[in-house]
Symmetry: C2
Subunit: 201 residues, 2 copies
């Protein structure tokens, strides 16, 4: 089995992105607040640095939702190549869920975007085949993580709990489910509590 | 200022009690699962023991919602004295929010229940006056904690985050608010991550 990880930053009221996502606000209104711990806030400490290492560790392939890939909706009517500039931080194939077919895009530094039109399970299967021993990461956004949790494929779930209330936005946990996970490592800073959960049993 | 604490156990999807609270299920369906860490689960460890110490430390007075006090609704048409038997674990005055007046009830061990009909602020003021230096605890349930958060009176908020999904129930966080809190102590066991937050600034 390919080890599958997922790492999300979340507000204390359970939102991984604010409401009204847009080209100007890719994380929704106030969504950046749940990422302050790795985006240069001066209160960040060694715990945040270590959690950033978890977030950025190399993986063999990624699964990503289209709304995380970009703001284009419906047909691909512009040449969008992701939010991350010419060299995205993935350095591996990224399988993007979409309803609209698109040729693969090669970026600098080893990242390539592959567009999958037949659903989460198909994208995840391709990611596993590509990644092999190097493992798959479910990159987000909220909808893709909900699908991964429902499919029961996540072996390691890391959440950074940030003590802010967004009041509205996107949640990753919905419905009753047996998660079967336990905290195995927990770090904290003034900005966040980083909990690394692993599947048990 | 009277130091004011609040300690709640919460599921990963944000519920402090399950749905359908009743006399048989005071914490709602599956609500006990978020309390396994202090209710005898054999996986509990020293972290849970220490967090239990936080939960049970003596306070000068408590504020509690009527639904936490008992299942009686509307007029007091039965002799209800709380869920906790003849000697409740509070050992101090408990101010119970209700719309229906009731004489105070003296219990063994120093606990007394006082019924307040003019709202959260009045109950909290009475609790502060009674407690003085010994501090006030907001005992719950969810509605009372929401009122305390909205009023901005909580100096120390402890949450035990339990990796289960209840899917429905009672939340304590609602609406946008500046919490102004930071984690100051974090412990974990297989059953829960205990985060003690303090107000900053």
């Amino acid at each position: 089995m390919t080890d599958t990880t997922c790492h999300m930053s979340i507000s204390l009221d359970g939102f991984v992105a604010g409401p009204d996502q847009s080209r100007e606000n890719p994380l929704g209104k106030r969504g950046r607040e749940v990422h302050a711990w790795h985006l240069g806030d001066e209160r960040a400490n060694d715990a945040d640095e270590k959690a950033k290492g978890w977030l950025l560790r190399p993986r063999g392939a990624y699964v990503m939702g289209r709304n995380m890939f970009g703001p284009v909706r419906g047909e691909w009517d512009e040449d969008w190549r992701g939010w991350w500039g010419p060299e995205p931080p993935y350095h591996a194939p990224v399988f993007v869920l979409t309803h609209h077919a698109h040729e693969p895009i090669e970026m600098r530094g080893g990242t390539s975007f592959h567009f999958v039109t037949d659903g989460f399970d198909a994208a995840y299967a391709q990611a596993c085949e590509t990644a092999g021993e190097d493992g798959v990461d479910i990159a987000g956004g909220a909808s893709t993580v909900r699908q991964a949790l429902a499919a029961g494929v996540i072996d390691e779930l890391t959440i950074d709990i940030v003590p802010v209330l967004l009041g509205a936005g996107e949640r990753i946990f919905e419905g009753e489910a047996a998660l079967g996970i336990e905290p195995v490592e927990v770090l904290h800073s003034p900005l966040a509590t980083h909990i690394r959960y692993r599947r048990v049993g």
